[in-house]
């Protein structure tokens, strides 16, 4: 680090100059909006004439929490988060363990498994919508004509529960590649001697996985649970495209698709801001817990 004996004013101002453009942008488009959002949530916000907005206190929050559509959206979001986090962890760990061996074609598989991660949510959502089509979709064909599990085509998108089959599977399918890469980097920090020693003691592969790999992987897995759940809580595009706005019967919203609809379709900005504020607070508390966990991990 440079430490001149006495810093001139010019020398002291330099770091701030380097920070300035970025901080201005962040103040204008992240921190300003964040504060603004909390403020709007306390008003019956008038978009055309903000000065005419009526202050309603926490009414938007109360109305949202008492609204059955919003309650359902919370439930949908939580169940999506639960299912996709578990799915990504299980399959991501499996793929990582498989790819952590000295085998041919590792790079090939790694690149292939990563394809869904880099494909845009819009494309893969439309793709899953097409594969789960109620008439001639590939999935119905597999279930009905190949595996004979059902005798009728399943109308996935017409049922408020079945709609989540393509949405949840998509969430898992798209995230496994990323999860696997993070688990893989965790696996590579585990010393190989541990496995050799276990093998000498006659431990099988399964035993060394549960006795060595999993415990040493715990910090990585904890980190993944947090990051993946935040991703799940913020899911938006797949649901918006596949359910086409909460269909059927407003039963299939996620928190954010519902927020979007109330705000930009019904122009209830105060109500929408209350919903997004609640989510922000929840995610923030969750993130702080993450930092605590990570610090614990770093300090031993």
């Amino acid at each position: 680090m440079f430490k001149p004996k006495r810093k001139s004013f010019k020398e002291r101002i330099i770091p701030y100059l380097f920070l300035l453009p970025g901080l201005i942008l962040m103040a204008l488009f992240i921190f300003g909006p964040l504060v603004y959002s909390f403020r709007i949530s306390l008003f019956d916000w008038n978009v055309i004439r903000p000065e005419r907005s009526e202050r309603v206190g926490l009414e938007n929050y109360a109305r949202a929490l008492n609204n059955p559509v919003f309650q359902r959206a919370i439930l949908n979001t939580l169940s999506y988060t639960f299912v996709t986090v578990i799915g990504q962890l299980i399959f991501g760990t499996l793929v990582a363990v498989l790819l952590n061996q000295k085998i041919r074609g590792r790079t090939f598989f790694r690149v292939a498994y990563y394809l869904p991660v880099i494909t845009s949510w819009v494309i893969v959502s439309l793709l899953f919508e097409y594969m789960f089509n109620g008439q001639g979709g590939l999935v119905n064909y597999l279930l009905k004509d190949i595996l004979h599990i059902t005798s009728e085509n399943i109308q996935w998108m017409a049922d408020p529960i079945l709609t989540f089959v393509p949405i949840d599977l998509l969430g898992i399918w798209k995230g496994v590649g990323w999860t696997a890469i993070i688990v893989l980097s965790g696996l590579q920090t585990i010393p190989g001697q541990l496995y050799e020693a276990a093998e000498m003691d006659g431990a099988g592969k399964a035993a060394s996985f549960f006795k060595i790999t999993l415990p040493l992987l715990k910090p990585t897995l904890v980190y993944l649970v947090v990051v993946l759940s935040i991703g799940g809580l913020n899911a938006y595009i797949s649901n918006s495209l596949i359910t086409d706005g909460g269909n059927p019967l407003d039963q299939t919203h996620f928190i954010l698709t519902y927020m979007y609809e109330r705000t930009f379709t019904n122009l209830e900005f105060g109500y929408g801001a209350a919903i997004s504020s609640m989510l922000t607070i929840f995610v923030f508390i969750y993130s702080v817990l993450q930092i605590k966990l990570l610090q614990k991990r770093n300090s031993g």
Binding site: I14, G22, L23, S120, W121, I123, Y130, M131, L138
Partner: protein
């Protein structure tokens, strides 16, 4: 090779190949559908190899309905946003990596805080800020927000990178009377190509795929970016999946190229920071 070892190898490949099929079949199905004519879109049984390969969907997409314009819009927004993000975030990262100054810790925490705020929850106030700046329906509004949304993550990534560069060169340059800006642009940036490459990829992919903000900030149909255009394309052409997927494939090509070219930096960027692309 022992029998047990062979069995384990066999199982590994069996599982990896099944996983590979699960990943690739949907993509394959998309590609095949894009090369089918409309009559075969819902044929029973669905074919994974088309009767005849036609290019009509691609031709229709490229020649019709402003698709070329949407592509150029997306490219413009993504390229400008990426260049600005690389510059601004590396400036911030340089300040954090090489200077001691009052408030450093607090400012850095603020920058990191930016990473924890879920982007979609900022949608409403960001829209209102852009509206009050009179930037709705302009690429400028979209670009400014795209840059901002990437700053925290990329500054975090680059700070680590800059700190791993030895300081001797800079000290020598400083002795020779070089200014900080010269040092930054002539020494730090050229030495950080892998880090800058990672930032470039992450930011480009984000901008190229971003949906929610573009949906809200751009309503003028001629200014749409590709993700919005493709989603609306599907809404307008309901069952014309061949067209929709031809458009999707064309829009995926730049992403695929970037990914293949920078595969190494990409993976390194993810594993060193644990960030979600």
């Amino acid at each position: 090779m022992t029998r047990r070892k062979r069995l384990s190898n066999f199982l590994t490949y069996l599982l990896l190949l099944s996983g590979f099929l699960l990943v690739i079949v949907p993509f394959w199905y998309m590609v095949i559908t894009a090369f089918k004519s409309q009559t075969y879109i819902f044929e029973i049984p669905p074919r994974l190899w088309p009767e005849e390969i036609i290019f009509n969907n691609f031709i229709n997409v490229i020649t019709g309905e402003n698709f070329g314009r949407f592509f150029v819009n997306s490219m413009f927004v993504a390229v400008i946003s990426t260049i600005c993000t690389v510059l601004i975030s590396s400036m911030m990262a340089y300040a954090f990596a090489r200077f001691e100054f009052v408030g450093k810790k607090i400012v850095y925490y603020l920058v990191l805080l930016g990473m924890m705020i879920p982007s979609v929850t900022l949608l409403i106030p960001q829209f209102l800020v852009v509206k009050s700046l009179d930037l709705v329906n302009t690429f400028g509004g979209l670009i400014l927000i795209y840059i901002t949304m990437n700053l925290s993550q990329q500054t975090f990534l680059l700070r680590g990178f800059f700190e791993s560069i030895p300081t001797e060169l800079e000290e020598a340059a400083l002795m020779d009377g070089a200014g900080r800006w010269t040092i930054f642009t002539r020494i730090i940036l050229p030495l950080s190509k892998p880090g800058l490459a990672a930032v470039t990829i992450f930011t480009f992919l984000y901008c190229w795929d971003e949906f929610a903000l573009a949906q809200v900030l751009i309503t003028d149909s001629s200014k749409r970016t590709l993700p919005i255009a493709i989603a609306l394309y599907q809404a307008q052409h309901l069952t014309r999946w061949g067209l929709v997927f031809a458009a999707s494939i064309i829009s995926f090509i730049p992403v695929l190229l970037v990914f293949i070219i920078f595969q190494k930096q990409f993976t390194a960027g993810i594993t060193t920071t644990g960030l979600k692309g």
